[in-house]
């Protein structure tokens, strides 16, 4: 509800790219990352990034998600392991996103 209200507040119209991603159940994180790396703004890619950023804000202020944003306990080994995993995962997302962008003609 708040997500939709935020889109209305920003005057965000429907985005063909977002509609295609939803209809084809594509990996939105991978597509957004690929578009962001290409520096694509506006309806083609910026709108997807903006929608994901809105979700990020809305989730961050919910108490149950605090642990996703704030490290609350000392955990050096786990931190480095997660950082390594996230970085490698990010590289994979980029490869996947590039493929999806080309395969589905998202630019």
């Amino acid at each position: 509800m708040r997500y939709e209200a935020a889109l209305r507040e920003m005057g965000a119209a429907g985005s063909p790219v977002v509609e295609r991603i939803v209809a084809r159940r594509l990996d939105a994180e991978a597509v957004e990352f690929a578009l962001r790396r290409r520096g694509i703004r506006g309806d083609q890619g910026g709108d997807l990034a903006r929608r994901m950023q809105i979700l990020c804000y809305l989730v961050e202020v919910q108490p149950s998600y605090l642990g996703e944003f704030v490290n609350q306990e000392s955990s050096r080994g786990r931190a480095w392991a997660e950082l390594l995993g996230a970085t490698l995962g990010s590289a994979w997302k980029l490869v996947k996103g590039e493929y999806l962008v080309r395969r589905h003609g998202l630019v």
């Binding site: 708040r2 209200a5 935020a6 507040e9 920003m10 005057g11 965000a12 994180e29 991978a30 957004e32 990352f33 962001r36 990034a49 903006r50 994901m52 950023q53 809105i54 990020c56 804000y57 809305l58 961050e60 202020v61 919910q62 108490p63 605090l66 996703e68 944003f69 704030v70 490290n71 609350q72 306990e73 000392s74 955990s75 050096r76 080994g77 786990r78 931190a79 480095w80 997660e82 950082l83 995993g85 996230a86 970085t87 995962g89 990010s90 997302k93 980029l94 996103g97």
Partner: protein, 537 residues
């Protein structure tokens, strides 16, 4: 018709302390004066509140999604966009518009002005800083002392006292977070390195109470500076305005946007737009003290002269933000009982600039992670993991450059009523690499590629539009330079219009100017009131 000794325009640091200095006179303060909303649910510690069960969406994001504004509007400081803080910049784009594509600053029409969200950094100007002013540090010192006693300043007379001047009225400094306590310890061990590099580090001086004072509580490390207005421990001029209203020292009329003035035989007429009715109101008095902020004060002066041609000079502190990391701290829990105010300051002597540059050092506990997560170079989930684990191991060094006089930095008035504002961008300087080298020698990881440069006007330290000069043209004569002010703050070519905000600064060193605006306005306001006492009404 009401008649006042003094009409003061605005309620920021300049207007407030000019009125404070002139107490005893019949004073009218005209102001738009948006007031801070009540935020009773934001009490305690930001992170403990976020751990609780209460839905903080209205306080942290806002029913009108205020915290998301940078996603679709011209970006502004993170401190000015949360739901309870956004009143500080409410309406200015509509009521006092700026026509500039590149301007990323803001104008405040709130009671207390932009100082409602200032970093509370307190810096005395030295004689070197005052080069170009028709004033010396010794002349300003008693006013600095009086402001210190009034607002409460915490800090220490440490290695930075040579740059910030000694202050015997300081409260104890804020407690350092463990990150910055470690950094200070490293500085003390590496002092010879800093001396060779002509740098120094010390505790931040802040207009923040570390002990209760005059009914105001001490700082509680609640980490709510980005979300909660009017923490009683952090000074804002709105407190002094409210005190003066309660004491009957001023008549305060909010909802009035001053547009122009006109000098008459008896004194001065001040025209303002009543924002509730749209009508033009006229107030009359003997003298006018303009303290609407350097940009809006320039607007009023140009409008009063029907001048749509002149480009007035404009100054702001350009900034470079250098993140730095202590890798060993990755994986530590975030220090939730902390502050997002500056914890340390650094001063760098720099041959290129020929004057000291100043940097303020901050932790990263204040803003929402969503404000920064998309500026990192990985996928969203990876960026979230990085911000979560790296934030406790990270500091931000905000380097301030002196304001530079340049044909590319100016203010002008358009016939449409919009203000044209331009600040020339500051390119990277060698001093940034010097700082990076020293941070690395201290054991911190950083790189020039990580430096962020806030946009044009984002420093919010506007000054110098109507600069003070030793001889700007006497009022009895036709002034050669009508947009300068005298040492007493008198605008050239006028008999009774005084400039009391940053507009009258002759130059802008690499220091927050707010404290000096307060001291200088106190000096000007008191001087005007005293000289009026020597004249027949």
């Amino acid at each position: 018709m009401d008649w006042f000794d003094l009409i003061v325009v605005g309620s920021g640091p300049g207007a407030t302390f000019a009125a404070y200095g002139a107490r005893g006179r019949r004073i009218l303060v005209l102001d738009v004066g948006h007031d801070a909303p009540l935020s009773p649910e934001l009490t305690g510690n930001a992170y403990e509140l976020r751990r609780g069960k209460e839905d903080l969406f209205p306080s942290l994001i806002g029913e009108r999604f205020e915290s998301l504004r940078n996603l679709w509007k011209r970006p502004i400081s993170l401190k000015l966009k949360s739901p309870y803080m956004s009143y500080i910049v409410r309406d200015w784009e509509r009521v006092a518009p700026v026509a500039s594509e590149s301007f990323e600053g803001a104008i405040s029409l709130a009671k207390g002005g932009l100082a409602n969200a200032w970093g509370a950094g307190v810096f005395r100007f030295t004689d070197r800083d005052l080069g170009g002013f028709p004033l010396t540090a010794a002349e300003l010192r008693p006013y600095y002392d009086e402001v210190t006693a009034h607002i409460g300043v915490s800090g220490a007379n440490d290695d930075l006292a040579a740059y910030f001047e000694r202050d015997e009225g300081l409260l104890p400094p804020l407690r350092l977070s463990s990150f910055f306590a470690e950094m200070m310890g490293r500085y003390e061990r590496l002092r010879p390195l800093f001396q060779r590099e002509r740098m120094a580090m010390g505790r931040a001086r802040l207009a923040v109470l570390t002990e209760p004072r005059n009914g105001r509580a001490a700082y509680d490390y609640g980490n709510l500076e980005f979300f909660k207005p009017h923490d009683p421990s952090i000074y804002t001029p709105a407190y002094t305005i409210d005190e003066m209203i309660r004491a009957g020292a001023i008549e305060y009329r909010s909802g009035h946007l001053v547009t122009r003035y006109r000098e008459t035989e008896e004194g001065v007429e001040v025209h303002s737009r009543n924002l509730a009715t749209g009508a033009t109101d006229v107030a009359r008095g003997r003298k006018l003290l303009l303290g609407a902020g350097a940009l809006n004060t320039a607007r009023i002066v140009l409008e009063s002269n029907d001048d749509y041609q002149t480009r007035l000079p404009a100054l702001d502190n350009a900034m470079a933000c250098i993140p730095f990391f202590r890798l060993r701290r990755i994986g530590e829990p975030l220090a939730v009982h902390d502050t997002s105010l500056a914890q340390l300051n650094m001063v760098v002597e720099d041959a290129e600039w020929g004057e000291p540059l100043q940097a303020s050092l901050y932790g990263t506990t204040g803003p929402l992670r969503s404000d920064i997560v998309f500026s990192l170079p990985l996928s969203i989930r990876a960026n979230l993991v990085w911000t979560k684990y790296v934030a406790p191991a990270m500091g931000l060094l905000m380097l301030f450059y002196p304001g530079r006089q340049s044909s590319g930095s100016y203010v002008c008035l358009r016939p449409s009523g919009e203000l044209g504002v331009q600040f020339a961008p500051e390119p990277p300087h060698e001093v940034e690499r010097r700082l990076i080298r020293v941070l690395r020698k201290m054991g911190y990881m950083t790189h020039a590629a990580l430096i962020q440069r806030p946009g044009s006007g984002a420093g919010l330290h506007y000054a110098g539009t109507l600069p003070m000069r030793a001889n700007p043209g006497l009022p009895e004569k036709l002034p050669e330079k009508p947009y300068e002010t005298s040492a007493e703050g008198l605008l050239a070519g006028t008999r009774g219009v005084y400039i009391v905000d940053g507009a009258c600064f002759s130059r802008l060193p690499a220091k927050n100017l707010t404290f000096t605006i307060m001291a200088n306005a106190l000096r000007i306001g008191r001087g005007v009131a005293q000289r009026m006492g020597q004249q027949m009404p």
